[in-house]
Symmetry: C2
Subunit: 233 residues, 2 copies
DNA sequence: CAATTAAGTGTATTTTTTACACTTAGTAGG
DNA sequence: CCTACTAAGTGTAAAAAATACACTTAATTG
């Protein structure tokens, strides 16, 4: 090993990167945002948006920066997923990747193909292409995490518009959990939590009874949480 | 930024380390293994066992190596916790740490003060000393994770001997969850899962009715899990 | 052999979860 | 304007799960 007196740790270091698994929803199946790589390795292959961590930013700041640079998305829900460190996960050299998973409201963003990317595109989870590096493994981990998390943390709302109908919410849960839910029981339970504010607004121009809009009451959630309440669906 | 043509990423990189939060149990309160640092920074302060990641090992391999080197423990349950990357978390230079949490059977190991450590010692969770770096934050994250995880994954057994009594198991759960559990309901539930093998063996030399020993049936757990069973307590 | 200690056990009550079907409101098309 | 169509919205009974609760038994100690 080569020593370098500048550092507390004087030996060679892995490079450090982040990769982002971005989920989006618009009513049908859950979707994932992928980019087509502009450069080698895996040129013109689909991959998760990712990039190297700068010295003056945390890994989370890095993940947010990369999302903005490569896809134009900002201000989304983001959470650390897992750190992938297999020594051969990148063909070029040793790169450790801190993966993040993000939930975005698809309607809110125009996709931009940013730096180093040919294009950015949404893929349904059941129709994912082959992915570069170990990104399939990362995606699998992210889906597991999302499924596990959605039942006991109110993160589903991050994928919907500010106002949504109960049916939209239910469809989202059914899509993530890949199982169907009884309409009446779902409504009873979610309304019983007192976390949804009913709005004085209905759907427009639908050829049926118009559904009422609701919004997620973050303030009520914080207050209930402090009193020991645990969201569970 | 200084370029270096040897690498795919040619700029300066953070150092990469791992830190380990090690939980142990021997009947009373849950305990945590800390080491007293032999060197600066934080010389003679208590800290989590940790060290730098080598180029030829994954972060998990690194964590296991460090546990062996610094405390003499091998073959424990270990799982990735979270990656801590605040730019100022180490006073020397930028160091990103992938934290792991481990569960060990305290009886099984003789503590050894290994490389760079003055001593290794178990501390009750309610009596932790001030810790070096951001290690208090790491510990807090680990406790949260353990509490969350213990109810829906059978990891508590990792902290007990191979054979244990139901009361020992219950006491462990009460200790981790910091709440008391009804004896009869606890037994009904845990035995109803068919995950505990009753052994033909009782406690010896106790001045009361001797309790029966049980062991955790890993095979049964794997089989049930494949059939869609979810542990929950 | 009496006292002490924790092990081991069952039932009734309450709470939660599940299963299930009809009426209503809003538009479209004739 | 009337009919057809569609999804919204709503309550109850049955089953399952969670909870609360107290006495008998086995083993040692003195």
């Amino acid at each position: 090993m080569k020593k370098n007196r500048k550092y507390a740790y004087e030996y060679e270091r892995p490079a450090l990167a982040t990769d982002c698994v971005i989920f989006g929803f618009d009513g049908g199946e859950l979707k994932l945002l992928l980019i087509e790589r502009e450069k080698e390795p895996f040129k013109n292959k689909w991959a998760l948006p990712g990039g190297f961590v700068f010295m003056e930013e945390t890994t989370e700041e890095c993940a947010k920066r990369i999302l903005l640079e490569k896809t134009g998305i900002r201000h989304m829900f983001i959470e650390q997923l897992y750190t992938f460190s297999d020594t051969d996960r990148d063909p070029r050299e040793r790169i450790v990747s801190v993966a993040y998973f993000a939930l975005v409201n698809k309607h809110q963003y125009e996709l931009v193909a940013g730096r180093d990317t040919v294009q950015a595109e949404w893929f349904e989870l059941s129709k994912l292409p082959k992915l570069a590096f170990d990104h399939s493994k990362i995606v699998k981990t992210a889906i597991q995490r999302l499924k596990g998390k959605v039942s006991y943390q109110p993160i589903g709302f991050e994928l919907l518009d500010e106002k949504f109908t109960l049916t939209q919410l239910q469809t989202l849960y059914e899509s993530i959990l890949e199982s169907s839910i009884d309409k009446r029981n779902f409504r009873k339970k979610i309304l019983g939590m007192k976390l949804l504010k009913p709005l004085d607004e209905k759907e427009q121009n639908v050829a049926r009874k118009a559904a009422q809009f609701f919004s997620f009451d973050k303030k009520a959630y914080r207050e209930l949480t402090q009193k020991g309440f645990h969201f569970e669906l």
